[in-house]
């Protein structure tokens, strides 16, 4: 990257630095590693980045988009302040959404604030609230959305054609998406005009100990979803790839990139094989990354992912559409770094991680609430997450310059290094048979568990510091903070679903469920024509419950633990 004369001058400075270093510290080494275990030096200079081709860095908005998807990053495309609002019941969730709107929640330019709602654990796993496995778990993490009636309570009356709906739903994605489509169309907004993102996490057995559809079947199921949305819901992101989850479950930044890219490659190949044009479906893939404790490695891995993805889309899938090569990113601060002990410390962790997310050019950002290690957020905790972003946006001047850390010898070196290591790991995965094989053998999870265990041991030994947990410990009684709690949620939700079933025309529901089964079986048989989403929408309209529909999916696509 630099000419010989310049490098000569640099080396002269390095030599002088070494002299001064030796005078002060002798032969003592100051060794450190990044969160991923990459060894780092105490200082970086132009010689460390000399062999990087400047085309790899380029300008913001220019291939390979290392510095951002657009020529301007935050100046013209403000990041969306994207916080999940899910709490207990759809009505309490709606209340929280309205409250955050009043406090200045912002969507993308021209859009209303995003409606970001997942479902509780029973709903995510496809059990109705009166199923025995749901007991004691209803409405704890997020609301239970078991019927279209609950979705009406959540979303009706909102300007749904101007809202990004982030639908966190695992394998029930077609059902919750179906409920949303039905509610939108009831108020006259056609599905073609809906914006949002499906958070389906079909690949979650890479890191999460939770059953899912069989690996091969989930690729068919989700390819059918992509097929349908590409044709009929062109503004809806068909899936979000949660690199973040890999970090949360104990993986490192290199694993984060390589593992999740292998999943993206698997579903993309499946879609291409089904005859869907990558220039049309890849722009609707969303990327969800982590800003965690290692400040610079978080930023480096976000920048590295942007260029890795651009090259994969162009070179591997032959994309011509630049939008298909741009990884648009939700950055999420790392709840796993938040502690139950001294919970107010989490505000500081969240602020630093949010700054990393903004410096790295996140397109939407979620600052995790400081009481994350305790429960679903109180209003105050969530508002403080929002204020963190508002203070950085409006007071610090940070968003005035695109990718302001570019050119940092350390950051550019680290970006390149993370890419190099992740590329090598991705190659290794492909050599082992790719995503399907590696998920079926449980390889990913074992690798992540080893990494998590390593971290746990180093915290237990005090080699890794967690302030307030293994260092600077205080009396816990003095740190109590209010915790969000709701009463009677389970009773209310069970009564509602029972009334819902009593009041419906069961013959009609059963007919729709039979058609859903038929459509599911055709998908499992390899007919990927995008007919399963409309069958799900019809079943929702005929008042089928989430549990009833998921039972059919589980019977057809399997429900397995690898």
């Amino acid at each position: 990257m630099f000419d010989e004369q310049f490098l000569k001058k640099v080396k002269e400075h390095e030599r002088r630095w070494r002299e001064e270093y030796t005078r002060r510290h002798g032969e003592k080494e100051f060794k450190a590693t990044t969160f991923s275990g990459i060894p780092i030096k105490p200082v970086y200079t132009p010689t460390d980045i000399d062999d990087i081709d400047y085309d790899e860095i380029a300008m913001p908005g220019e291939f390979p988009y290392t510095r951002g998807a657009y020529p301007l990053v935050h100046q013209a495309h403000r990041w969306a302040t994207q916080f999940p609002q899910g709490l207990a019941l759809p009505e309490t969730t709606r209340e929280r959404y309205e409250l955050l709107r009043k406090q200045g929640l912002e969507g993308y330019p021209g859009m209303e604030p995003p409606l970001f709602v997942g479902t509780d654990m029973p709903s995510m796993l496809g059990y109705d609230p009166d199923h025995p496995l749901s007991k004691g778990r209803i409405g704890i993490t997020m609301p239970n959305l078991c019927t279209v009636k609950e979705m009406e309570t959540l979303a009706s009356g909102l300007p749904l054609d101007k809202i990004n709906y982030i639908c966190a739903a695992f394998d029930t994605i077609m059902i919750n998406l179906g409920q949303y489509v039905v509610v939108a169309e009831e108020q006259g907004i056609p599905r073609e005009k809906l914006y949002g993102t499906c958070i389906n996490y079909w690949y979650r057995q890479m890191y999460m100990e939770q059953p899912s559809f069989r690996a091969e079947s989930t690729l068919r199921f989700n390819t059918d979803l992509v097929k349908y949305c590409t044709e009929h819901m062109p503004n809806f992101n068909t899936m979000s790839f949660s690199f973040w989850d890999i970090i949360e479950c104990g993986g490192n930044s290199v694993q984060e990139l390589a593992f999740m890219l292998s999943a993206i490659i698997a579903i993309s190949e499946s879609c291409v094989n089904a005859g869907i044009d990558p220039d049309r479906f890849l722009p609707r893939f969303a990327f969800h990354l982590s800003a965690h404790n290692d400040f610079f490695e978080s930023i480096a891995s976000i920048r590295a992912l942007r260029k890795m993805w651009a090259k994969i889309a162009r070179d591997r899938f032959g994309c011509k559409n630049p939008r298909a090569m741009k990884a648009i990113m939700q950055i999420h601060t790392a709840g796993s770094t938040f502690t139950r002990q001294q919970p107010l410390n989490n505000l500081i962790r969240g602020s630093i991680q949010t700054l990393a997310a903004i410096l790295a050019g996140g397109n939407s950002i979620w600052t995790v609430h400081f009481d994350d290690a305790l429960a679903a957020p109180t209003a105050q905790a969530q508002i403080l997450g929002l204020r963190t972003q508002q203070i950085i946006r409006y007071e610090t001047g940070v968003p005035n310059v695109s990718d302001p850390l570019a050119g940092s010898y350390y950051l550019e070196w680290l970006t390149d290094k993370v890419e190099e290591e992740a590329t090598a790991l991705l190659k290794k995965i492909e050599g082992m048979g790719g995503w399907t094989k590696c998920v079926e053998t449980g390889w990913y999870r074992r690798e992540i568990e080893l990494e998590a265990n390593k971290w746990r041991e180093s915290v237990d030994k005090g080699e890794t510091t967690v302030v307030g947990v293994n260092k600077f410990v205080e009396d816990e009684e003095e740190q109590k903070i209010p915790v969000q709690q709701y009463e009677d949620v389970e009773k209310i939700v069970i009564e509602r679903i029972q009334r819902f079933r009593e009041e419906r025309d069961t013959a009609k529901t059963n007919e729709a469920l039979a058609r859903l089964r038929e459509a599911a079986e055709r998908v499992e048989g390899g007919e990927l024509e995008g007919k399963l989403v409309p069958a799900a929408i019809e079943a929702v309209k005929a008042k089928a419950t989430l549990g009833e529909m998921m039972d059919i999916f589980k019977e057809t696509f399997g429900w397995v633990m690898y």
């Binding site: 654990m121 004691g136 778990r137 704890i140 002990q341 290690a373 305790l374 915290v459 237990d460 967690v466």
Partner: protein, 101 residues
């Protein structure tokens, strides 16, 4: 084998399964981790089933995301000890060794 103990692992499952596995394997300790709640409904059920099966001397410990207010309730149900978020592996292993010595 972990920390010198033989570990039988079972996932997101019914209280009946937990009790059945415990009996079948003749375990000394049952550790139940709750990450998305269920501790106040599943734990009493498990304790009752263990009692029915005559496994009264098994050590039951609970961990995961457990609210402070739930601890006295769990202890009342017969849980020996609750480990909240941030508990170290060493703490848990030492406690088990001490109790089963």
């Amino acid at each position: 084998m972990d920390a010198g103990m033989e570990v039988v692992y079972s996932l997101y499952t019914y209280p009946e399964e937990v009790a059945a596995v415990a009996v079948e394997e003749g375990v000394d300790v049952i550790g139940i981790s709750f990450l998305s709640f269920g501790q106040l409904t599943d734990t009493p059920k498990i304790m009752e089933l263990l009692k029915e099966k005559g496994m009264t001397d098994v050590l039951v410990i609970v961990g995961g995301i457990i609210r402070d207010g739930d601890i006295p309730k769990l202890l009342e149900m017969g849980v020996a000890r609750v480990f909240q978020q941030g508990a170290s592996m060493t703490q848990i292993v030492d406690y088990i060794n001490e109790q089963t010595a």
